[in-house]
Amino acid sequence: MNPRTRHALEFVLDNLVWFMLLFVLVVFSIFIPNYFQLGIFANIIEASSVLGVMSIGLALVIIAGHMDLSVESVAALSAMAVGILFCSSGIGMGVQLHPEWLMVPVSLLLALAVGGLIGAFNGYLVVKVKMSAFIITLASYIWVRGLVLVISGGRSAQDLAPAIRWFGIQRLIGLPLTAWIAIACFVVFSLIMAKTPFGRHLVMIGGNETATFRAGIRVNRNLIIAFVLAGAIAGLAGWLLAIRTSGASANLGTGFLFNAFAAVVIGGVSLKGGVGTLPGVYAGVLLLSAINTAINLMGLPANFTLVIHGLLVLAAVLLDAFKQTIRQRLA
């Protein structure tokens, strides 16, 4: 194989998930009526904003060789906290701040703080107390959702303050601002992962924690930061979720965890840690959103939706495994 072919092949393998996304979009556009239109593509990006942001935090922890199963519940708790304070109907307290725009940073900080605190709690138990991340974050997944139920009493908050809801309504180049926030998050965290010592250290820790420690890198500190970031980013996802649905209900975000995992895996992040990039994760999120949109537009019988969804995800993961085989042959 000549170097040029090899280089081209490696480029395709490195960005396989983007090619899969392109392929899927083309196929759906050809075969599904009404799929090929700018509005639908904008919907795909918009619908993926919450899941996308949530996947960033999850990906950081997985790349660092750990697990955070709590992100879905953390997002729900943040959304509910924002909903209770800044919604005016249902259980919303309708808190008003003057000037009105202050509600945006305050609600955002609240969501980030809620998420960050739970992330710090998870990180402390995993890193300092040396407990299994799987178990600790599974427990958090359960108790945090329970806390949502406790503080909401099972009721919902509705009618989010217009100053915050503005992000879900205003559009920039055809996309709602919530989608731009998600895109900005991917750009910022991709740069952090690729260009900063913190990002590189996370990859190294995920690859081999002991070797990284022996190389003099502060493994514990980096891991705790990763957990805090995962929590805070999940909080941001919750903030976006509240904006998107103009409030919060007790079951908000249910099922997002598994979709986030699917997106991260499809995006090429290894569950063993040490491998993966955030642009790949974003492509994974968009791919899932494109599939969901296709299912919505095809109007398939409700019972088949999950089967089709699962099979398409399986196909994507199998393709990823095939990619690894080819890569090994190239090496």
Binding site: P33, N34, Y35, Q37, G39, I40, N43, E46, A47, V50, S89, G90, L125, V129, L149, G153, G154, R155, S156, Q158, D159, R165, G168, I169, P176, L241, R244, T245, S246, G247, S249, A250, N251, L252, G253, T254, G255, N292, T293, N296, L297, G299, A302, N303, T305, L306
Partner: protein, 346 residues
């Protein structure tokens, strides 16, 4: 580590001490097996049943199955061992709980079905609005709305179901589509909002409004799904009244949407009446006395008790809530529980 464990156990002990109610004299303890507490109807059903059963002399304890059939089966087994005065069951899965109902009744514990009718095995009493019937009422309202808009009953309806694994939503769909068959010019697009999650409903509406911009009416199977539908419509630049909306269950958020002009109709599940009926007949259920068929007044609603193959069944009609009657305090969505005391049926 030791300190953390001590702190955790301390908090748990304090929580148990605070949350465990003092023993009260009553006619007995009734267990309510609620399918989930993640929606407002179910949460409301707990407080309504508790209120009315207290008025008729019973203490109620609630167990939440978190929408898991196996969890509810285990809970049933545990409760049977506790030998309560009765079990009120709102089943996660209508058929899977059949053996548990039979086991409870074999152990001498009467079982009352609440909200979700189980016809495959006898029970001691059933109080339902009728999920299929909610679909019928919704179809009647859809007929009126489409006729008013298009001159005749024609057009396109987007039906946003709840989770496709939940018989509750499937029954509403069955009733709705069964009645709408009479109108061949109405096209119904049905899509599920997985796990009853609001943002899933929002995505469906956003996609469908692009693929089928001529949708006349959106029918969501729960009010909280309509909230997300409205958010999507708003994001698409729609104003109240641009697209007709309808939902079912009568939750507070649905009533708010009616007041704001977004929602045309909310088909109510008569939560208070359903719960009051259980309390009214609880003495007869516990004493295993005959429940006579006929008309009964339940919180001012004319309700009918019939003798079915699965036992005595009270059906309380669901009402259509519109802008005209939205403030009626009888609707549970207005969160004003009846002040009149419920009395046991003699």
């Amino acid at each position: 580590m030791k300190r953390i464990l001590l702190a955790v156990f301390g908090i748990l002990a304090l929580a148990f001490a605070t949350l465990t109610p003092a023993f009260a004299q009553s006619k007995g303890v009734v267990y309510y097996m609620v399918p989930t507490l993640l929606d407002e109807f179910q949460t409301g059903s707990v407080s309504a049943l508790e209120l009315f059963l207290k008025q008729t002399g019973y203490e109620m304890k609630t167990l939440n199955a978190d929408n898991k059939t196996d969890a509810q089966q285990s809970q049933m087994n545990d409760v049977i061992a506790l030998k309560p005065a009765a079990i009120i069951l709102a089943a996660v899965d209508f058929n899977a709980l059949k053996p548990s109902i039979e086991a409870a009744r074999a152990a001498g514990i009467p079982v009352v079905e609440f909200d979700r009718q189980i016809t495959s095995t006898p029970s001691d009493f059933t109080s339902v609005a009728g999920t299929v019937e909610i679909g019928y009422v919704a179809a009647d309202q859809a007929e009126k709305l489409l006729k008013a808009k298009n001159g005749s009953v024609k057009g396109k309806v987007l039906q946003v179901l709840g989770d496709p694994g939940d018989p509750y939503t499937l029954d509403i769909q069955k009733g709705f589509e069964e009645k709408m068959k009479a109108f061949p010019d109405v096209k119904i697009i049905s899509l599920p909002a997985m796990q009853w999650e609001a943002s899933n409903a929002g995505t469906i509406v956003a996609d469908q409004m692009l693929a089928n911009p001529d949708i006349d009416l959106i029918f969501s199977h729960a009010a909280h799904l309509s909230v997300a539908a409205v958010a999507s419509l708003e994001a698409a630049g729609k104003k109240p009244g641009d697209v007709m909306l309808m939902s079912s269950n009568g939750a507070p958020v649905g009533l708010d949407l009616i007041r704001k002009g977004w929602l045309n109709v909310e088909v109510e599940q008569p939560l208070y009446a359903q719960a009051a009926a259980v309390a009214m007949f609880m003495d007869k259920v516990v004493k295993k006395q005959e429940i006579k068929p006929g008309e009964y007044d339940v919180l001012g609603l004319k309700s009918t008790v019939t003798k079915e193959t699965w036992g005595p069944n009270i059906k309380i009609p669901g009402a259509a809530i519109t802008k005209e009657n939205v403030d009626n305090p009888a609707f549970w969505g207005n969160q004003k529980p009846p002040t009149d005391t419920v009395k046991s049926v003699e």
